[in-house]
Subunit: 209 residues, 2 copies
DNA sequence: CCTGATCTAACGGTTTTCCGGTAGCTATAA
DNA sequence: TTATAGCTACCGGAAAACCGTTAGATCAGG
């Protein structure tokens, strides 16, 4: 494992330091860390580690975008995602981006070492829970072909979540009530959700709020 | 610091092991860990550590309840909360429960060591960001006097979030439509929210979903 | 230039929510 | 034993959401 450099990306300093201590105790080489995407790219200009341990928290969907960008600019760098949860939404995009592995934070250090070994050898590692999720997704994929919301629609969802009714939203955006109803209707149509309450929950779970 | 035992409670095994490695590298004594509240209490019957490092994630509000229970049954055990965010909702209850400290995961190891030292010496440590949040809370406290939902109400909110309407919920719970409407009405009344969409958002932000 | 996506707007009818008030039944705590 | 809290249930009217459908304007990309 000598000569295999690991770099940690996470916005939780404590987790970085814990992970670093853990890896060093197991004779891995940790060459640094970054707290944000921009910090990471600054470092990558100077040095390219072999492996990025990338944490994906709840709030920042951008961990996904960061991964995609890294893969585009530095295809040689391997990426192992360490995430809180096995959300399909993230997974799809991450696999599309070409990450080499996906671990849950509930994994233990044995699984972490296994994942790193797999990736170092040129393979991939996706934790079982996650693989199931992927497979399930493959099967049901056709039903939900990636719902994309327009900016206007996202804006209206935000206002709906604030408790505004159609008229208030119309006033707020200086458009007709009919228009707002059209948007609301379109969103429900394209997402296949039942009503606004359902929509708000969906928006939360899919990073739109 | 010799003779001061630390015990970690977290449902993320990786974080536990990272933290353990970090603490051991700094010559602290880590006597064990637990992945859940129930596991913790089983261990506490056998041994009482001096300090609990308690992680509070997003989903499990129960970290708060666990802390309260520990403090009630083992007042001598100190508790240092390590949390993802500085949510007022959690903070209030944790302080009420009597925890000795509150750290964010964005803290570094220096702050962790400082917090542990403070608590070991009989003092308390609340990270600056959190203290601000507390203070801000003191000022605005009067406006939101702690809305408590009954189990039935929580159940109905969950079903509402699934997109069910009143009739479907009534069927699902085997109660009258009128009853469901009463509950929905009461919830909106006691929370002061505008409609169900607003309610779903509120429920998400306050840990009810 | 044509096409597709987006934003805008409208109408009529049905269903559901929202609001207000009222009220009985049970279990539990003061 | 009173309260008090929680769950249950009902009614009627106003307001809003939901549904299906149509359609003009604009603007970016092939």
């Amino acid at each position: 494992m000598e000569g295999f450099s690991i770099f940690i990306v996470d916005d939780h300093q404590l987790f970085i330091e814990g992970l670093t201590a853990l890896l060093k105790a197991n004779n891995y080489t940790v060459t640094g860390f970054a707290n944000s995407g921009s910090a990471l790219f600054k470092v990558l200009e100077q040095q390219q580690p072999h492996l990025l341990l990338m944490d994906i928290g709840m709030k920042e969907m951008d961990g996904v975008e960061v991964s995609a960008l890294v893969k585009k600019q530095y295809p040689a760098i391997k990426i192992l995602i360490i995430s809180m949860h096995a959300k399909r939404v993230y997974l799809e995009k991450l696999i599309e981006a070409g990450v080499e592995g996906y671990l849950l934070k509930s994994a233990d250090d044995e699984e972490l070492k296994l994942a790193i070994r797999c990736i170092a050898e040129g393979s991939t590692y996706f934790s079982p829970q996650v693989s199931d999720s992927i497979f399930q997704n493959m099967v049901t994929r056709n039903r939900e072909p990636d719902v994309m919301l327009t900016p206007r629609e996202k804006g209206i969802i935000k206002l709906l979540a604030e408790g505004m009714n159609t008229k208030e939203i119309a006033d707020n955006l200086n458009i007709s009530i009919n228009t707002v109803e059209s948007h609301r209707k379109n969103v429900l149509l394209k997402t296949g959700l039942k009503n606004v309450a359902h929509l708000i929950k969906w928006a939360f779970e899919n990073g739109h709020l």
